[in-house]
């Protein structure tokens, strides 16, 4: 914070000097214009047009009357609450594992990033085929071990949603683990040594050294993860397609369903519906980043 203020004070005279020199301002406007135009054409106009399409109150009545919408809201909440908490807690535990000084753990951490580094489509389709009731790997193994046919995993809405959450966790766990590893590595080793000398247990070290240093990062990560998870279209759409019987939709896939049904107003209304949840998270993140 202090360095920032210092920088501002130093550069202020230059900035005011430039403001008088109009070529500098002119060039500034020219250089910033392309982004402003893109922003107007491909963000502001679509959003405005979308809101205008959903202007009729009847759209919202129809939306609330649609049982698929209610189901999608519940699914989204389950996805967020279960998915993010499980993911972040796993990331917290695994970050403690990956900071251990072992050669094999260093190698494992390189492999561990793969789900994040490869595009989601091939791997999600791979998981989808593993779960195929007849030829999928999982049911093949079940058949070999027990001689019985395994369940039709993705035909059960609860199981299908659970697998979509697992796919989401599989894909994004490496990223958040990495963030928490970086946060753990920035904690001074002296603190742990001092605690060991005083005879602190592993849990006490976590409770009094690790967690206090991690909690801000953990909270910010959770919020950011909520925003990104709300927009996770692929995990649900490519695994279940919203099925069976449209029972595993989340808000991110629901809009596409309404688009297919040629009800763009409902698609927009469902997004407007989500705004009270999204906007506070967005403003929280903006405050964090524009400090």
């Amino acid at each position: 914070m202090t360095t920032l203020a210092l920088d501002d004070a130093k550069t202020a005279p230059v900035a005011t000097a430039r403001r008088r020199l109009s070529p500098w301002q002119a060039w500034g406007l020219i250089l910033i214009a392309p982004y402003v135009l893109i922003f107007l054409a491909f963000v502001v106009y679509p959003v405005g047009y979308g809101l205008w399409l959903a202007r009729s109150p009847q759209s919202y009545v129809d939306l609330v009357d649609d049982p698929i919408f209610a189901r999608a809201v519940v699914n989204t909440l389950i996805f967020l609450i279960v998915g993010i908490n499980v993911k972040m807690m796993l990331a917290l535990v695994l970050s403690g594992f990956f900071v251990q000084q072992r050669l094999w753990i260093r190698w494992l951490s390189v492999l561990f990033i793969l789900p994040w580094a490869v595009p989601s489509i091939p791997t999600i389709l791979s998981i989808r085929f593993m779960l195929n009731p007849e030829w999928g790997m999982i049911n093949q193994i079940i058949f070999r071990l027990t001689g019985e046919d395994g369940p039709n995993w993705l035909n059960n809405p609860s199981l299908a949603l659970m697998f979509a959450i697992l796919v989401h966790i599989w894909k994004s766990l490496p990223f958040w683990t990495l963030i928490l590893v970086a946060a753990r590595l920035s904690i001074s080793a002296d603190l742990y040594e001092a605690a060991s000398v005083d005879g602190a247990t592993g849990w006490q070290k976590f409770r009094h050294i690790t967690w206090p240093s991690l909690q801000t990062v953990y909270l910010t990560s959770t919020i950011l993860s909520m925003i990104w998870t709300l927009g996770d279209f692929n995990s649900v759409y490519l695994l279940t397609g919203g099925g069976p019987a449209d029972l595993t939709h989340v808000l991110a896939t629901l809009g596409i369903r309404y688009l297919r049904l040629d009800r763009v107003d409902l698609a927009m209304a469902s997004i407007v519906f989500a705004l009270p949840l999204v906007l506070p998270l967005v403003f929280f993140m903006m405050k964090r980043l524009s400090r």
């Binding site: 500034g28 982004y35 793969l114 490869v118 030829w135 896939t253 998270l281 980043l289």
Partner: protein, 283 residues
Amino acid sequence: MTRLSLRGVTTEAKLLLIGVPVFLWTLLPIYHLFLFAISPKESAFSGEIWPEHPTLRNFAIVFGQKHYFLSHFWLQLWNSVFVAVTSGAITLLVATASAFAISRLKVRGGRTVMNLALFTYFIPAAFLAVPMYKTMGLYGLLNRQWALIWAMVAIASPYAIWVLKQASDKLPYELDEAAIMDGASPMQLFRLVYLPLILPSLVAIGTYALLLAWNEYLYAFLLLSRDTDITLPVALGNFLAADDSPWELLMTTGLIYALPPAAIYYAFRRYMVAGLTAGAVKS
């Protein structure tokens, strides 16, 4: 002494108890993908851990476009390359210019633009997809690759501008002042002072935008539909539409599609990890 080594053994055992499941969990779907790609059609579904007769036949079929699902494989691969490279290049141009204007020229309204861009960055992209689709229809861009390119630029630019602005703010202003003293024009300042200094960040941001466009599925599948226009991920998604999909070919194509971004990611890992960590979550 014995107690100590016993404790050492238990620690190692505990670490392995975490490490082995993490290893399996991470690699299983990717190994499954790979297994299908090297298995002959008949044995792909037999549930073996390693095929009896591993083969590259699937790759030959994909590269030879010898299946009706794959009749445009090379064109679709080219489409993916074209969209990713073009989106990456435009994002880089637009974002560098904006970051320079905001950070170094202190253009009026720059802060507002920065905040609006950040706001866009945090709105989930899936929420913007439906209105974007309708708008592209109005612009007459639907079913054209430029629709996808502009959508990708609009989505990638905010984060790019933010990262580049942060990096620009860290450059010493004395350099600018010295250049101005010597009579440099704004564009000379941009070319001779700013660009060389910001180059490392440009590599990271270019990679980010490129991978974002290469990996994109939702917008690509909404905005493009002709078999000759679509990018590879859309073609992969189209496999799902048929019941008799040749899985082993789908997996092979998927593997080919997944390799370039993985390679790029590992090549630029140092930049990516540092950039993302600093960018996404500052404590």
